[in-house]
Symmetry: D2
Subunit: 313 residues, 4 copies
């Protein structure tokens, strides 16, 4: 089995390795000359030989359209292009239609596994026709984890990225759940050794999971997470999950809360809370903090334990 | 009509003024010698003359128990104590029972109006028996706004503070709603003059309100709220509203979101988001920010517009 | 001043009346022969005479593209088309560009006021160029409420619908806030007469508003809202507000909660909660209810007050 | 090792079995004569012989105070009472103080494991003094899962129930996350076989967990969950988690959303949404549904696809 693989970054590079370990012949392409096996896409396609040629695209979403346009020029009838990146599922049908104009097949694959995938295998969620899936099956077999799980042909074009999107939405919610529990345990004085509690949860509990193991691992490196800022990026999938829910009138309150917590984590100051503070000042004469004022420790005033011993508005 | 008023702070002081303007004879007590009309509570009660004596307590919640205990000593059969502060409604029945041991009546009154109450009148939500309400009615008439609204005898002991608590819960939700709209308008580039939009909303819209007028007033003073920090305290009522909802299995998602937004506004860094960042780092090799690292501007990386043009995990 | 008005439904019909009351000559068009002043759009444009002709489109979002396409054929240089319907703000720039191909100007106007607008005036949020706004100013003057508020030229094309969208998002949050307060008051036994409490809030409180007056009005007609189902549709604006927030990384937790509450109100049964019930059954042996089983009153079991006096998992 | 165990329900009965399998001599007591090993608590204590006697209480929270009062009479210096039920952590210190009056030790133990615990072992989170923990250690060893995890001495009295409470709060959030993903996948048409997607997620993904395995198991029994109502009870721990967060000013938006989703799942009709519907009717003339009207299928009207082709307010 021979294939092309475009994008040899953190994910793509490891995937090439896992594929080669399984005996797949991979021609990789990357802009970085130190990583690439081909001079350009034409060279890559040339090295693949006769149809059906399979080319796996592992690029950030912005780079996909141009690459697909080029592949449309270079490939032909019976070939298959796989978008395995974190692309938006709504792009898949248009992409498939574009390539179909030249008889090129299209599969969308949601890939999970992160830095652990090289060793443990990547979970794959595949969308597209049975015919195209059959052509790429040896690749999927090589990438997926051993055992019965970790691979699903989820449906037609778009189903793979849709399933992966929902996977990531769920991931947001689970991460946020552990995180809220962590904050509660560390804020309270009841529990002496919070990392020990997390560690113990790894067996016999309802909440044992792989993410819990990662929490434990992180706490082993830095028990109070002192060296990490409470700052989290979000990838597109979380946003798309919430948007898909809105589109379908499906409420996703926990996933949405998780997304918003990430938004807030990136704000130096909240414009919304400025207006809340301004309103409180207008009706109650409540003190507002100036932008450069540092009074976060005056929490004693919070519940009415006011200096002058008088009722507040 | 004669009455005692304990606590002459921002609220109590203005209330004394409004009561006197209406011809009520008020004997005020405050720890501050510059404000008080009585040397101590015994003096205050002495100045009130014969029963039925009415004493209005306008103190922060922490100061109430000791004051009620003293008043129980000083007052007797047929007198009435009014707790008009921001007390928790669950305290009212025990307070009433305590005073009833000596035949002293009890009313709980939720008071709204803030710094505007002196001129416009205070909204009053009253809990207690009809008999005790009747004794205090001239006081309520003096404090309330003119016109048919602004006063309600909401029910038995506790009903006044319960109604006021819910009022404040609603207040949280409304403030948060305007605040989210403000942030959205200022974050988008579509609208040129956001304060002008808020100003225009004061007539003809579904969302015209007194709080909207306060928003406009605040924006007139500081159009971009540049001089205000996005930092908001919460009083007890918001918390109690959510707790009451939990107790009654009544979901209050918007009010709760408003309360949590205030919690977050007071955090320098979020412990929860530290763990989210730590997990992302564990599974995806996502960079975490060190506590002293200032990279809040690298939002370009957020949606995958990554430097190296490669797919992310 | 002469103008065309397309769409004479509940909103459009009342607007025609208010415009005529102000002396504007309105040629209305509607599919309903009983309402229309023109046989078709060509007839309408013919009746308007010479340029600059102003045509106000007041149609549901689905009907807008076809109508604009027709108007592009019929109108010309210097004319102005106004989209005053509840259109999505992202449609405005493409619409404006389409019409600009023939020199036709475009304004987007968010209109608020509902059934009250005929009498009280409509709040208008306008997007577009100063030049086009100037042409339509007499129309805006006729529609808007009297007094200094209720009209804003919010910015360029799209700003009007964007501002209206945010207005509606805020509206969702405020409505939800009152609604949560209502549910809490009615669920608790503390307050005897909940409508009386709402009525009293109309003066002296922080939460007095026009929506509060509508609540009171509804409770006067049906004090316990016994004859109304807890079922609420959502228009597009609430969804678009949340989507815009996601796009801009602006958290809108209270508005989002309000939107989701409407989603849930329309579900006969929640697929999500089916899975929650299924999981509880799997790990705890918790009883699940069959689809046709009606045991919503077994709340006594909820907090562990179990029949057999034993601990639950 | 000998011990008493009070409460032989679903949990207690299985625990007795696991303890006996490990060679612990258990004297069980239950109100049900078919289950009990002792006539009453006095008989149970009598059968335990000399101090130190260990009595594990496994009862619903309401039954705990009376049982502890009785045990205080029957036990003495050096004995230890363990509350292993789902008790509220705030009860633990008062309970401990009560028993300490007679020199009786107290441990609080949060127990997880449900119906799987008999075979796999129960996760234990223990609060109390080292001395008392040492006395009960053989019991904990027998109950806990094999291997290094599943047991933690979390801190002083109350720490065990606090840790278990947070565990359950996290559990709520994780369950809700999967549930939202499920609803989204089933609502969309993109994915053909949703159970197959869940099944595949069990390896190679970020979200693999024990709860995911239970989801898969439930879907194997009933692929569309057709026979389960979307109705979920909540135990006390979810509520207490949110309350603890409020107390500590720790925002728990995802866990709270999960709790509220359960509240809503138990409502036949939402009082809050009645008021939202009533307001919409007041300002926009939007149709309200009568209580007995069944028009949940008129979703076509939802986004403005109105009958008459006209704009809505």
């Amino acid at each position: 089995m021979k294939m092309g693989l475009i994008g040899l970054g953190k994910m793509g590079g490891n995937m090439r390795q896992r594929l080669r370990n399984a005996g797949i012949e991979v021609v990789g392409y990357d802009r970085d000359p130190a990583l690439t096996d081909a001079a350009d896409l034409a060279d890559l396609v040339g090295q693949l030989g006769d149809s059906p040629r399979i080319v796996w695209v592992m690029l950030p979403i912005q780079a996909v359209p141009e690459t697909l346009a080029t592949l449309k020029e270079l490939l032909g009838e019976g070939d298959v292009v796989i978008d395995g990146g974190n692309s938006k599922w709504t792009h898949d049908v248009p992409n498939a239609e574009l390539l179909a104009e030249k008889g090129i097949g299209y599969l969308d694959v949601g890939v999970s596994g992160g830095v652990w995938g090289l060793e443990n295998g990547y979970a794959l969620m595949v969308g597209g026709s049975k015919e195209n899936v059959a052509k790429a099956l040896p690749i999927f077999e090589a990438l997926k984890p051993e055992g019965p799980y970790g691979y699903v042909h989820a449906g037609g074009v778009g189903a793979g990225h849709f399933a992966k999107m929902v996977h990531n939405g769920i991931e947001y919610g689970i991460m946020q759940s552990y995180a809220e529990g962590w904050e509660l345990l560390t804020a309270a004085s009841a529990v002496d050794d919070v990392p020990a509690v997390f560690e113990s949860w790894q067996e016999g509990t309802v909440i044992k999971s792989w993410l819990l193991e990662l929490c434990v691992r992180a706490m082993q490196e830095d028990p109070n997470l002192d060296h990490i800022r409470g700052y989290a990026e979000d990838s597109g999938e979380g946003r798309w999950t919430v948007e898909a829910g809105i589109d379908l009138a499906v409420p996703t309150p926990a996933i949405t809360a998780s997304l918003y917590a990430r938004f807030v984590s990136r704000q130096e100051d909240s414009p919304a809370m400025k207006l809340v503070a301004a309103m409180r000042n207008q009706f109650g004469g409540h003190k507002v903090l100036a932008e450069d004022e540092n009074s976060r420790d005056d929490a004693s005033d919070r519940l009415g334990e006011g200096a002058a011993g008088r009722a507040k508005a």
